[in-house]
């Protein structure tokens, strides 16, 4: 992992550990319903102040806690058009399979590239350390994966171009 990412992920880890102090809380408006308050936003008293951790202008993390759920939104830094499109392609691929990654939200929060919704049920099932590790590992591996995809595109392009020009070299 790049050392430059360490302060960013350490701060996210700290804030997530604080935000993931959640518990089961039934809906106050509808009987026998249990909704993630961070999504329904019916009761402002159940929502905690959101926290934004910014690595740069283009890369930031928004943590929105509530009493029974936490929403984590990530904006991935992109240098050029190819990176932008690779990030979009990759995240759209992931979000279409959100049911396999239970904590992944199908649609990101506006202004961000990907969002996670962690409820008290997820906390019971996976435990706080695993969830925090997952989010941090996602950020770290996202960087690595996008870089390697970009390299793969360029390598493939170079191989194709070399073969094409070789067929014309007389």
């Amino acid at each position: 992992m790049a050392l430059s990412l360490r302060p960013y992920t350490n701060n996210i880890r700290t804030e997530l550990n604080k935000a993931l102090c959640i518990q089961s809380f039934p809906c106050q408006n509808v009987e026998r319903h249990n909704k993630p308050e961070v999504e329904s936003r019916d009761n402002p008293e159940l929502l905690l102040p959101p926290v934004t951790i910014a690595r740069s202008e283009k890369e930031r993390c928004l943590i929105e806690p509530s009493i029974n759920s936490v929403r984590v939104s990530l904006r991935i830094g992109q240098m050029d058009m190819l990176e932008e499109e690779l990030v979009k392609m990759y995240l759209r691929f992931l979000m279409q399979r959100a049911e396999m990654l239970e904590v992944l939200r199908r649609v990101p929060v506006e202004g961000y590239d990907v969002s996670f919704l962690i409820t008290d049920q997820h906390l019971l099932a996976y435990g706080r350390p695993r969830l925090v590790d997952f989010v941090v590992a996602f950020i770290e591996e996202m960087d690595v994966e996008i870089s390697s995809m970009k390299l793969a595109v360029n390598s493939r392009g170079r191989a194709v171009a070399t073969e094409f020009l070789r067929s014309l070299a007389f």
Partner: protein
Amino acid sequence: MPFNAESLTLLLVRAAGLEIQSLEEHAHEFGGCEYLLVAGPGQGGSLRLLFAMPQLAGPFQQQVLGPEVIDSVAAAFRGVAVVSRQPPEPPFHLALDVDLHLLARLSAPQQDGWSRSLASLRLLLAGHPLRQVFRALEAGTLQAGPPLVCCNTPGQVYVIKPAADSVALIFPLRFRSRQDCAIGVACLQEFVEARRGPSLGRAPTCSYSCQTREVPGELAGLDLSAVLGPGGCNGGYLTLTFTRRHVSGPQMEGVVWSMATLHQFVAFHVKATKAMMHTRMRRRVMAMIELLGAGGGGGAGAMAV
């Protein structure tokens, strides 16, 4: 099952050795081209080969299907096939009557050669403007002249700019989506990098302009907005410059084919790159599921990707 030129060749070779009662076979090729082989008892020992290609705008249709081109096709197949006097039924543009009896009397290598030529009818038509220029370059009679806009694929054009001792081919590239554009531009930039490699010193000179503001000098004064459509040229301009040694001898047909189908070549590799990305992403999804829930939590990982 789609045919390709190999299959069409095989069919023609086999047909040459058989008494055919009736035959009707369609073959589709990339870029919307179609071949149709028809034979029947009333055709007197000949096989009718029909060819269709996508409809192009008026002047471009003349470039690949005009009278001069048809004459060159007739000359190329003289003795083995004739251009049919009966106009082909739509959507076909050209019909050849192949003399099967003559093909049957030839040796196997000759049959194979003629069959390959017939199966390459598209190359004769689509590559006609390029072939004319390359032949003049090979003969040393080429003179500098204005750029010539050519098209054999709807929505994609290329420009031939002849000089005294070389020919520059400029390909304005259009991609359908921003994603294709990003991948295509990355691949096309590698053409320039690859050309600098030590083993490709004899390849044609290659340059790439990735912004619409940096229109190549060969296109100065030429307005392509009408032919490129509303999207314009979002993939930049790839320029290849050929000299006499690149087009002298038997390699000319290979060069013509490569240049006439460059747009489809780039589109194919953009699509293949996307497929490669999807394969990588599937592996990453499985790795992430293992990271989150190995042995823990609900249905994570239960469904196949």
